[in-house]
């Protein structure tokens, strides 16, 4: 065990944080940076509630050692907020489509859907479902979540045309 300095970018801001080399990335994001959108559901990679983007790919931050984040770009739901403090299209869509009940899984699902939403490729509903299959929701039954992601994907693709 040792204290080490972690240099990385979190939600576009460069950070230098003193961490314990046994910390998970979820520990550091929650306890050191107070980014509490990162939820700990299972802590063994099963539920996806702790999903964050590392260099634009979705990872379970509970089973990712913080020391591996050196030099990487990390994004959480807090980073989706625009300059005026408004929520993003995907967050609004979760509200509109009733894709949130207790809300514990929501931030994880939103981060898992980001690679789909930011991609230039088309996604079928089945492909969307596959990309969010690493996230568990105990409340909604998934249909509304898939609807929210599908809707924003469609909107973003139309805006690109």
């Amino acid at each position: 065990m040792a204290k080490v300095v972690l240099s990385c970018t979190v939600n576009s801001e460069p950070q230098q944080i003193i961490i314990d080399d046994r910390d998970s990335l979820a520990d550091v994001l929650r306890d050191k940076l107070h980014l509490t959108s990162v939820k700990k559901g299972c802590e063994v990679g099963e539920c996806g509630a702790c999903t964050v983007l590392i260099n634009d790919e979705a990872f379970d931050s509970c089973i990712y050692l913080a020391i591996w984040a050196e030099g990487k770009e990390i994004r959480t739901v807090e980073g989706l907020m625009d300059a005026d403090g408004e929520i993003s299209d995907i967050q609004q869509a979760f509200i509109d489509e009733a894709a949130v009940q207790c809300g514990f899984c929501t931030c994880g699902f939103i981060m898992s859907s980001m690679p789909i939403l930011e991609s230039d490729e088309e996604y079928t509903r089945d492909e969307i479902r596959k990309q969010i299959a690493g996230n568990f929701c105990r409340c909604t039954g998934y249909e509304n979540i898939a609807n929210a992601v599908e809707k924003v994907k469609e909107d973003r693709m139309n805006n690109k045309k």
Binding site: M1, A2, D20, D21, R22, D23, S24, D27, E43, V44, G45, E46, G48, T51, E57, A58, F59, D60, I63, Y64, L65, I67, W68, E70, S112, P115, K130, Q131, I132, A133, G134, N135
Partner: protein
């Protein structure tokens, strides 16, 4: 925070080997999707680790001058499925690892870790057995190359001596050229589930596309470690594609496997899967080779 005694971040293969030799109890951690779970559950609490996570030279896929394909053990499942060499020459391997866990696990899990944990259900293992994968293992004094079948010593146990690291997975040209393959993972759910049984078949047809020239049949969870069925394979080489051929393959495979009953499924159910899935996998592999299946 994980209950880890100490962790060293290796900067190169030689650096990792040196630290593994200096601390014989230290374990290698790559993506951590097995090791960190075991630490969390207490089975490996208080362990010492050597992290190879940042050794980029162990990542990626490359074509060798002699046509062999070299896969870095740190290549993640998702990068393997996306790789253009894999897509073009060994699509069956990319398709097999695309069935692991969910997207987040496929981003962190490595193919080297998947075979080095010695688990029979590993989704890459049966396909690598069917492809006769060769493994390059580098140690303090030398490096050796062994077939994957010799790597598995028993459940959870692979042939790694102190200070040794798996540094490459090699698929030789003769094991992919003109072969097509298909992997079926039978599980209770479509994602985030471990295989009840896994079955990979690769085959090569004659020029008329009506006769089996060569076939490799491999299973996961049909025994304590991933396995091939050499007698079943031999029995249909040279046979015309026919119901009789499919039935022969299934019947003889049954005599070679040793599945157990677990909470996931009974032995009897697994035997039924062994017989049925090899036929289905072979049918798909034949179709991909341009062969025709009657009826």
């Amino acid at each position: 925070m994980y209950d880890i005694k100490k962790i060293y971040k290796a900067t190169s293969v030689q650096d990792a080997i040196k630290h593994l030799v200096d601390d014989p109890n230290a374990l290698i951690i790559a993506g951590g999707s097995d090791i960190l779970i075991k630490i969390h559950k207490g089975k490996l609490a208080g362990c010492s680790l050597v992290s190879i996570h940042d050794i980029d030279e162990l990542r990626g896929v490359s074509m060798q001058d002699n046509g062999d394909i070299k896969i870095g053990p740190l290549t993640s499942f998702s990068n393997l499925s996306k790789d253009h060499i894999i897509k073009r020459y060994i699509p069956v391997l990319g398709e097999a690892v695309d069935q692991v866990g969910g997207p987040q696990i496929r981003n962190i899990g490595t193919i080297g870790g998947n075979i080095s944990n010695g688990v029979t259900s590993a989704d890459s293992a049966s396909t690598l057995f069917a492809l006769n994968a060769m493994l390059e293992i580098t140690g303090p004094n030398n490096s050796r190359i062994i077939p994957i079948s010799e790597y598995y010593l028993g459940p959870g146990k692979v042939d790694l001596k102190n200070g040794e690291v798996l540094t490459a997975i090699i698929i030789t040209k003769e094991n992919y050229e003109d072969f097509t393959g298909h992997y079926i993972k039978y599980a209770m759910r479509e994602a985030m589930d471990i295989a009840t049984l896994g079955c990979c078949v690769t085959c090569k047809l004659n020029d008329q596309k009506d006769t089996i020239k060569d076939v490799h049949l491999a299973y996961g969870v049909a025994g304590p470690i991933p396995m091939r069925c050499p007698r079943a394979e031999k029995s249909i080489i040279g046979m015309k594609i026919s119901d009789e051929m499919f039935n022969t393959l299934g019947k003889i495979a049954l005599t070679e496997v040793k599945p157990r009953t677990s909470w996931r499924a009974s032995k009897e159910f697994r035997l039924q899967l062994v017989e049925e899935l090899c036929k289905r996998s072979l049918k798909e592999a034949i179709k991909k080779s341009g062969g025709v299946i009657n009826g």
